[in-house]
Amino acid sequence: MAVSFEYVAKETVTNLWRNRMMTLAAVLTVAVSLSLVGTALLLRQAVNRQIGQWSNNVSLQIFLDADAPQPQVASVRSMIDQTPQITRCAYLDHAQSYAQAKQVLAGSPTAIAALTPATTPTVFKCQLKSPGDAATVAATFNSGVPGVYRATSPSQSIRVMQQVTNALQLILLVIAIVLLVSSLVLILNAIRMAIFARRREVGVMKLVGATNWFIRVPFMLEGLVQGVLGALAAVVIVLLSNVGVSYLIRHYKVLGSAVLPAHDLVVTELVVMLIGVVVGVAGSSVAVRRFLDV
């Protein structure tokens, strides 16, 4: 059976127009909630790029001299093993360390250009029993151990920043989820009203033997369009907010000089679109299932 594209398109547009107030409400709510989701994601990426090296409870990094010979590396390793405050360490060789450096320095291409894998110091990323010991342990390794270039622990300000952004993200996500649920309900209600407005047509369609999908598809498409319109608005809002955040970052130097690479922005926008599609389809599917007994 061919559901003619022309028929479905015509029905969907007519429905949306007839139902335009509900459509507007649904689209705006989707837009607002997805903007918050997008902003939260961007914030998360920006922060992670800056302090990514300190994630996963890593609280001590021991950089070795780039040209440290193997025996020196081995002796540092045994010294680590004998330090009781250290629970676990991961060793990044030249290639891995270079990859991490590229990430950390994503915002400053000149710094990356100056590096090669061979000149990048290798590093031990260590977890401590208690992060409070970080400064003492770092001092031990900084006291002229052969082969050790520098041992660093995250500064207090990074810890604070991590906590603040985590809380901020959580709040944004909670608000976004509440708004997403309400936009789902709004889309559901919009479709329900559309179904009610067209109950005569639906009755005749059932009578003359239109298939269930033929009856359902225009309504589901209507929900999809609402979701996508909201998502498109959110994409624009997220783009603007990214410009704003970048400006703030540069102006107040909150996160060093870093600006998010275009790649992260594109991924975020895609996620926003996808959520919009899912919300639209989910809302209309539920409405069609509950209120359109075919």
């Binding site: 005569r200 005749v204 059932k206 003359v208 033997g209 298939t211």
Partner: protein, 272 residues
């Protein structure tokens, strides 16, 4: 074409709407379904459309047990069953042509087919000139003709009519009946539920009478009967009019006048 085998259907907490009905309707027959309101006529039609499913028994349409149909096949069953109603059920925002074409469009017929078939069927129902009118610009009889056109445009095997003349005056009613008769002559089986004594008596077609969900009469060239009371008989014994009865009153199968029992039955049921 249609067969009911011991079909029973009840709605919640009530006596059965249909009680152990068995009957067969051949292809090309014209059948009147008569009986008072609540006798089960509409339930009969709903079972044929599979809007309802019987509690017990089997409904066959065109050789198929329609209780066995999976949900997604029901629309294909309905394409073989045209339907008209007392209230026409036209779409008020579409013209006559669009109303009829809608029935073909939504089952995915190509546009060229739609155009020719709609034209043909509108000529058949005598509305060839009024294709561009809106339903509210038409008389009741004309609106019902549009509904007939919509039901017949897909050339269904069976045409179901639920009191199609209930809203129409006698002259208009006659026109609709002529139309249904013409459709019947094309080989389409017609099942028509009605209250209209006049139609049934003049058409002299098969009459199936229901009372309180029971089949009380099935007559080859029947008349409407003698009014509702005729059908009342004790213990569900069908009351059949005996042709040539001098007093014109109904008798039950035992050959006793039924009138004496009517009072008793009424009393038993309480006042209607």
């Amino acid at each position: 074409m249609i067969r009911f085998d011991n079909v029973t259907k009840s709605y919640k907490n009530l006596r059965p709407a249909l009680d152990d009905i068995s009957l067969e309707i051949q292809k090309g027959e014209f059948v009147f379904l008569v009986g008072s309101s609540g006798s089960g006529k509409t339930t009969f039609l709903k079972l044929l459309l599979r809007e309802e499913v019987p509690d017990a028994g089997t409904v066959w349409v065109a050789g198929r047990d329609i209780g066995e149909l999976s949900q997604w096949r029901v629309p294909y069953l309905r394409r073989n069953l045209g339907c008209i109603f007392q209230d026409f059920r036209l779409l008020p925002n579409k013209t006559v042509t669009e109303n009829v074409a809608f029935a073909l469009e939504v089952i995915g017929r190509p546009r060229a087919v739609v155009r020719t078939q709609v034209g043909q069927v509108l000529d058949l129902v005598g509305l060839g000139e009024k294709g561009d009118r809106m339903p509210h610009e038409l008389s009741g009889g004309e609106q019902q003709r549009v509904a007939v056109a919509r039901a017949f445009v897909n050339r269904p095997l069976v045409l179901l009519a639920d009191e199609p003349t209930g809203n129409l005056d006698p002259a208009t009613t006659q026109g609709i009946m002529k139309l249904l008769d013409r459709i019947n002559r094309t080989g389409t089986t017609v099942v028509m539920a009605t209250h209209d004594v006049g139609i049934v008596d003049t058409m002299r077609r098969r009459v199936v009478q229901l009372d309180q969900g029971r089949l009380v009469r099935d007559q080859a060239r029947g008349v409407y009967g003698f009014g509702d009371d005729m059908t009342v008989s004790s213990r569900g014994v069908p009351a059949v009019p005996i042709s040539g009865a001098s007093d014109g009153r109904p008798y039950d199968l035992a050959g006793q006048p039924a009138s004496g029992r009517v009072e008793a039955v009424r009393a038993r049921r309480g006042v209607r």
